[in-house]
């Protein structure tokens, strides 16, 4: 029973015609409503024609649905040239009878109105075109031009109503483009006739950088995001990016990957970062952010994983050269094709464009690790809220692909280190801060892990040393004088060592002194013993002599015989 209702609801669900436009089919859950008319409206130069053309061409190429393009503005030649810039070859599709392009020219100065008329001529042409290629998709670009060519608007409106009804009956999936008017979606109120789906394209310039945006104003029968989605027109067609995926449903990997710095791994619960997590490394200029990032990239390559390195401040060669000075040979991995360093200034393009270019490159290269150095350079391009939204999308994109990423963030000198300019720290799973401590006439780098979600990480500060053999972390001196680093640490440690040496010397001296005394006493004892022994010997001798004398006396006196 329940199965039955499920099936019927599935059958009732609106059928969709995929547009093949990257991202658009995702936000509309499948594309445009099949067999119905959609309105694509926007100001001049917002990409309406390109949107419509890509919908048609993709229909032909990917879905085997022939299409008809009726242009009221551009001639066939212009359309062919414009579409070639998107990589579409219209003549080829037309010759193989899968696409039909018709140019309807409306020139008021050539036309005299002499009485009652209708648009039956247009219907016949459409019908002819549709039958010629067996079209399933149709584009009318821009039908509003008719209003400037014909003065009897009441006839026009009635005929347009009839036209849309007719297209629906024919089951054509249609795009009608319209020019945006002041205060209304289209100049002539086309939205009145097209009630199923309305898409608004926009092109605006903020701080000298232009961004294109798309919004699904209305989509009958479909749940759709009402946000504005940035899109770009590239040489591979249109691309729409969902600002944020509404769900946080990416996989949480248990796997750990090394940071490339063994002692840092120790600090991170002994195993390094989680795969697919976002690591933020922030610090002021010259604290070694790039080095940490490069070490991570190198480690990824050493594991045989692909890594993409976006350098926004240095050229690829410069990164390689600089990292060689701390013993990281990135060139080796570049040659092996495991590492791709992209040196590019974000200011070249608008923020959205830039982000989408990044995503395209990431999709093409399919890396396991990504470095963005520094992410803060994106701020120069957009406003803070734009940047944040952009980064959220980038992070979603990366996490959705289980890519481990390091973003470096440059904090300006005066700012608090625990605050990132873009406010992306909340996005980060692991956040490390690099600092320069100035003590005793020198600057020393220290690293702390501010947070690292899901692992027992060290809360200790480590001194961070860049040597020609790589990066090393050294325990800092922590004593009653506080935390000491660099020379101060060495000095303090040396002072302790000196004290030990002093005490040791003292001990030796005392020992020597006493040993000398012992020796003297011993020799004294020996002397006295010798003297006494001599006297004993003497006394014994004396006694023997006496005894001898007594014996001799006895013999002489014949007292004894």
């Amino acid at each position: 029973m329940q199965q039955g209702t499920e099936r019927s609801s599935r059958e009732l669900r609106l059928e969709k015609s995929p547009t093949g436009i990257r991202g658009f089919d995702e936000i509309t859950q499948g594309g445009l409503p099949r067999g119905r008319t959609s309105l694509v409206t926007g100001g001049p130069g917002t990409g309406k024609t390109m949107f419509a053309m890509e919908f048609l061409v993709n229909g032909v190429i990917r879905h085997g649905e022939p299409g008809v393009f009726v242009s009221f503005e551009e001639t066939q030649e212009e359309l062919i040239a414009n579409s070639a810039s998107l990589g579409f070859s219209l003549p080829e599709l037309c010759e193989s009878n899968r696409l039909y392009v018709d140019y309807v020219h409306v020139e008021r100065s050539e036309i005299e109105e002499t009485g009652e008329y209708d648009l039956e001529g247009l219907f016949i042409r459409l019908s002819h075109a549709i039958n010629t290629v067996g079209a399933k998709r149709l584009v009318l670009d821009t039908i509003e031009t008719l209003f400037s060519g014909l003065s009897n608007t009441s006839i026009l409106r009635a005929e347009l109503r009839r036209l849309f009804r007719w297209l629906k009956d024919k089951g054509m999936t249609t795009i009608v483009t319209g020019e945006r008017g002041a205060g209304s979606l289209t100049r002539e109120g086309l939205e009145e006739y097209v009630s199923d789906c309305v898409i608004l394209l926009d092109h605006r310039v903020a701080e000298q950088v232009s961004t294109r945006r798309l919004r699904v104003v209305k989509y009958r029968g479909t749940e759709h995001g009402t946000n504005e989605y940035p899109f770009l027109i590239s040489d591979r067609g249109l691309m729409v990016l969902p600002i944020t995926s509404m769900k946080l449903d990416y996989e949480a990997s248990e796997e750990r990957v090394s940071s490339g710095i063994p002692r840092l791994d120790d600090m991170l619960g002994g195993k390094g970062f989680y795969r697919g997590s976002l690591v933020l490394v922030s610090g002021t200029a010259g604290t070694g952010k790039t080095s940490v990032a490069a070490a991570f990239a190198e480690a990824a390559c050493r594991r045989g994983e692909r890594c993409m390195y976006f350098a926004f401040e240095e050229s690829a060669r410069q990164v390689v050269r600089n990292m060689r000075s701390i013993g990281l040979d990135l060139d080796r991995w570049v040659e092996k094709g495991l590492l791709k360093i992209v040196g590019q200034r974000p200011t070249v393009h608008g923020l959205e464009h830039h982000l989408m270019t990044l995503q395209l490159m990431i999709d093409d290269f399919d890396p396991a690790a990504v470095v963005v150095d520094p992410v803060t350079n994106l701020i120069q391009v957009g406003t803070a809220s734009d940047v944040r939204a952009t980064l959220v999308r980038l992070v979603d994109h990366l996490k959705g692909r289980n890519i481990t990423a390091i973003f470096t963030s440059l904090t300006s000198g005066g700012a608090v280190a625990e605050k990132t300019d873009v406010g992306i720290s909340s996005l980060a799973d692991t956040w490390m801060i690099l600092k320069n401590l100035e003590t005793g006439g020198e600057r020393n780098r220290v690293i702390t892990i501010l947070k690292s979600r899901g692992m027992a990480h060290s809360n200790q500060v480590r001194e961070f040393q860049l040597t020609s053999k790589g990066i090393d972390l050294v325990d800092v001196y922590a004593g009653p004088e506080g935390v000491l680093t660099g020379s101060a640490r060495i000095f303090r440690e040396a002072a302790l060592r000196l004290e030990i040496d002093r005490l040791d010397a003292q001990r030796k001296k005392k020992r020597a002194l006493l040993e000398e005394q012992i020796a003297r006493l011993r020799s004294e004892l020996e002397g006295e013993e010798r003297e006494i022994e001599g006297r004993i010997r003497l006394e014994k001798l004396k006694m023997n002599t006496i005894l001898q004398k007594r014996k001799e006396l006895g013999i002489s006196r014949k007292a004894e015989t």
Binding site: E110, E113, T114, G115, Y117, L119, G121, L122, R125, A129
Partner: protein
């Protein structure tokens, strides 16, 4: 004196132009859709104009684009009925059932006979 001859030459030129105009051949195409009332009306109106003003110097072809839809594209027809004046140049299009006689005559550059 000079002035007078000048104005007379102008008049001559006007007379000549008028003569040429009357001598011009008209090549007309009328695009209709079957035998709808509008089509029928347009054909009737056009025949009348031709007989009254262009006697003996016009060539008219009536095309039913239901029968020959490809001709609609060739001639860039969108509105029906449409009358195309191919000659004399410039090319002009007249849309509608041609019931606005003054408009048609003005557009065709025909001066109504007084």
């Amino acid at each position: 004196m000079a002035k007078k001859s000048d104005s007379s030459s102008k008049t001559d030129a006007f007379e000549k132009a008028l003569k040429d105009d009357q001598a011009k051949r008209y090549v007309l195409r009328l695009y209709v859709t079957g035998s709808t009332s509008r089509s029928v009306r347009a054909i009737r109106n056009l025949r009348k104009i031709c007989e009254e003003h262009l006697q003996g110097r016009y060539e008219l072809e009536v095309i039913d684009i239901y029968q020959q839809p490809e001709l609609a594209q060739d001639a860039d027809i969108m509105v029906t009925p449409t009358l195309v004046k191919k000659l004399p140049l410039p090319l002009r299009k007249f849309i509608g059932d041609l019931s606005d006689l003054d408009q048609v005559l003005k557009g065709m550059d025909i001066r109504p006979k007084s």
